[in-house]
């Protein structure tokens, strides 16, 4: 009997354990609903490595934000999170996140692992100026305020913002792009090791999104960050992420180095997702939508959750859950027939580079 995706720990990876900063094992999130149990994170296991940029990609309602909340044990009531989530600080003992008290958890959040959400507009208090936001955060965590503010100024400058003016401003005086960058600076003010960004740029125009990604890419090494970047937009993370994890129906269906996952996607879902993405190069008739709809979290299909939409699904897929199959050293896909996917779903990445 095959295991469900992700029950193995450290699947298909060739990296030593000492590089791991987060280890998620068998994480489940359930909500009790009138119609039954809603399983919105389904037995997910994933290692996140120190210093990497991990892109988590999936459609609305695929469970990617739930995964982000799980990383910080921040699943909202009445959701119940089970499984193991371990955080490995640079020095000191590993921390079992799900067993922490509220005050211990508060210290880990922001100081070790911080989070940037999509709604920069609602993250700020409209009655406080930016400097007060930074001060409040520093004080709440017993950090030296003067040091912190001077750090904030450097960071704002690195994000192409004029520190003096921004710190004096109230949220409504800043544009969306400025606010989002100020929020990124605020999330980094306590020098966290990991920053989890949930669609941080989705509300902005493309040019601002790209500019912010370029800035993040540039400051990442300076601030020694591990970035978990969540997006529904596969191409926007292309080039930014080192590694990609593709989510479908509350599970990771494919993970691997970004370059490989984009160049040679193995899971039929990843291939169809790329094919359905409007871009500037692909001929019109080669861009096609994915047939069907994502499954309901209450009535999960049996077998592979993608089989009702998959063009290469067979009998086996409808009753057996596929294990991760190793595509290459660090690249795996939860599909029995991944070797057939390239022929069944041909894909061109534009600029004449035909996929083999």
């Amino acid at each position: 009997m095959a295991e469900s995706p992700g029950t193995q720990s450290n699947v298909g990876t060739e990296r030593p354990d000492s590089d791991v900063v987060f280890r998620v094992e068998g994480a489940n999130v359930n909500f009790g609903m009138g119609r039954g149990q809603s399983n919105v994170l389904h037995d997910v296991s994933l290692d996140i490595y120190r210093g990497e940029t991990l892109g988590i990609v999936g459609e609305s309602g695929s469970g990617k934000s739930m995964f982000a909340s799980a990383l910080l044990d921040a699943v909202v009531d009445p959701g119940v999170l089970t499984g193991n989530i371990t955080y490995y600080p640079r020095s000191g003992e590993p921390i079992d996140l799900l067993s922490l008290s509220d005050s211990e958890l508060r210290r880990v959040r922001w100081e070790e692992v911080s989070m940037v959400f999509q709604g920069a507009m609602s993250a700020f208090n409209p009655t406080m100026n930016m400097e007060e936001h930074f001060e409040e955060t520093l004080e709440a965590h017993d950090y030296d305020v003067d040091d912190g503010i001077s750090r904030a100024k450097t960071m704002l400058r690195d994000l192409h913002l004029e520190p003096g003016r921004i710190l004096r401003s109230f949220p409504h005086e800043l544009s969306g792009g400025q606010k989002q960058r100020a929020l990124i600076a605020l999330s980094l003010i306590l020098e966290p090791e990991v920053v989890v960004m949930d669609e941080p740029t989705a509300a902005l125009d493309l040019l601002m999104q790209r500019s912010i990604l370029n800035l993040l890419y540039n400051i990442k090494d300076k601030y020694d960050l591990t970035i978990v970047f969540i997006s529904h937009d596969l191409p926007i993370v292309s080039g930014f992420a080192d590694r990609l994890a593709v989510m479908y129906a509350f599970e990771f269906v494919e993970t691997g180095p970004a370059r490989e996952v984009l160049r040679d996607p193995a899971h039929p879902y990843t291939r169809s997702l790329l094919k359905s993405t409007p871009n500037l190069e692909t001929p019109y008739d080669e861009m096609v939508p994915i047939e069907g709809e994502s499954p309901d979290p209450v009535n999960h299909p049996s077998g592979c959750s993608y089989h009702p939409r998959c063009p290469i699904a067979d009998e086996q897929c409808s009753h057996e859950v596929p294990d991760y199959h190793r595509v290459s050293a660090a690249h795996q896909a939860a599909c029995f027939h991944w070797e057939k996917s390239a022929d069944a779903i041909p894909l061109s990445l534009g600029s004449g580079s035909e996929d083999a």
Binding site: E59, S60, R157, D158, H160, L161, E162, S175, G176, G177, Q178, L204, D205, L206, L207, M208, Q209, R210, S211, L213, N214, L215, Y217, N218, I219, K222, H232, D233, L234, P235, I236, S238, G239, F240, A258, R259, L262, R263, S272, L273, L274, S276, T277, P278, N279, L280, E281, T282, Y284, M287, V288, P289, I290, E293, L349, G350, S351, S353
Partner: protein, 381 residues
């Protein structure tokens, strides 16, 4: 009258908004002076001197950053925003003259209101949450076709729901908006706008809020319905890929806007494959590519622009408005507003940039001092 000539003609349209704060009105001048408050209301130049035609069965995509005026221009085109100056003609009739009752034609403003429709970015809030899909779709018919019976309206709604693939239609007709997915809501909003068989629909970021995987599906539907309803779209988007997909397939055009002005205009494919204006090139740079090597290379480059933030529209830069961020700007660009120059191999493709003209004095003009527009050095350790 119809059939010949454009459906909509925008001629030298400007839309300015005065930013009147409450203080301007109620605070006495002496107090303003004392606190150094100048009391001048500021004028936002949302759209300046835009001329553009929209033909029958046309798609015109307005593309640009947040705050470039694309939505305001779109709203002006469909008579939802009165321009500060300039004229907008619908089938030859000046819309705002009709509104003021100045023109005695065989047409009234109500007819125009009905012929020009809009779909919004967020379909969830465009549909009334307290009413069923049937009721939402029926209300425009009740308003404009009072002769129809309930049964007629029901039939028409069911027919359209089937047409857009929401089956079983009877089931969908009785649902409420929150019981539909985002893609389904946008499809309902689309047929709601089409219900009255309008000539032009303003689609304001109509697919941007949807999942990437759903965008093609909705745009395919828009193109499909365009054929059956003979409608034109004014498609407002910050995303060149979406603009290309919709306008390119309908043989439409793309107009690139920057700070209230059109800076480049032409056939969709031409704009994508042969952009002339430096700003269009930057928008193209910002459009993600699927190829991982190309994407990685673009990520390593700094933003090819001298400033990330768009300047204040209350006080737009002199000369070419893009000169404060333009990587190619020279002294001459700061002085005078460039007119449209035709692109070398296509006269329907124009760009407001001196670089398009090989003989322009631009090429002898001194380069601007090399500093970033927001006044910072780029990051260097």
């Amino acid at each position: 009258m119809s059939g010949s000539g454009p459906v909509l003609e925008l001629d030298d349209v400007s839309v300015h908004f005065r930013e009147d704060s409450l203080l301007t009105d109620i605070v006495p001048d002496s107090v303003k002076r004392r606190f150094g408050f100048d009391g001048e209301s500021e004028t936002v130049h949302a759209v300046d001197n835009v001329s553009i035609d929209i033909d029958k069965n046309d798609v015109v995509a307005l593309v640009g950053e947040s705050g470039c005026g694309k939505t305001t221009l779109g709203k002006a085109a469909v008579a939802l925003q009165r321009p500060t100056s300039g004229s907008i003609r619908y089938k030859g009739h000046d819309i705002w003259d009709l509104y003021d009752g100045k023109e005695n034609a065989d047409m009234d403003f109500e007819q125009i209101r009905r012929a020009l429709q809009i779909i919004h970015q967020d379909p969830g809030s465009a549909l009334n949450p307290n009413r069923t899909v049937q009721a939402n779709l029926s209300s425009p018919l009740e308003r404009w076709n009072p002769e129809l019976t309930f049964r007629d309206r029901r039939d028409r709604v069911l027919r359209l729901l089937k047409r857009i693939g929401l089956t079983p239609a009877e089931d969908y007709a009785d649902r409420y908006a929150h019981q539909l997915s985002g893609g389904e809501q946008q499809r309902v909003a689309l047929i709601r706008a089409l219900m009255l068989e309008p000539d032009v629909i303003l689609a304001d970021e109509a697919v941007s809020a949807l999942d990437v995987s759903l965008r093609i599906e909705i745009m395919d539907l828009m193109l499909d319905l365009q054929e059956s309803f003979d409608t034109s779209y004014v498609f407002v988007s910050h995303n060149l890929s979406n603009a290309r997909y919709l306008a390119g397939q309908a043989d439409g055009s793309i107009a690139v806007m920057y700070l209230g002005r059109i800076v480049e205009y032409g056939p969709a494919e031409e704009i994508i494959s042969n952009p002339q204006h430096p700003y269009t090139k930057i928008l193209k740079w910002a459009t993600p590519v699927l190829d991982p090597e190309q994407a990685a290379e673009a990520m390593r480059e700094d933003t090819p622009m001298r400033g990330i933030d768009i300047p204040d529209a209350t006080n737009p830069p002199t000369g070419c408005r893009f000169h404060t961020r333009c990587p190619e700007a020279r002294e001459v660009c700061t002085q005078e507003l460039p007119e449209f120059y035709p692109a070398p191999d296509n006269r329907n493709h124009v760009a407001a940039c001196y670089r398009v003209d090989d003989d322009h004095e631009y090429w002898n003009s001194p380069e601007l001092e090399d500093e970033t527009a927001d006044g910072y050095q780029s990051i260097s350790d």
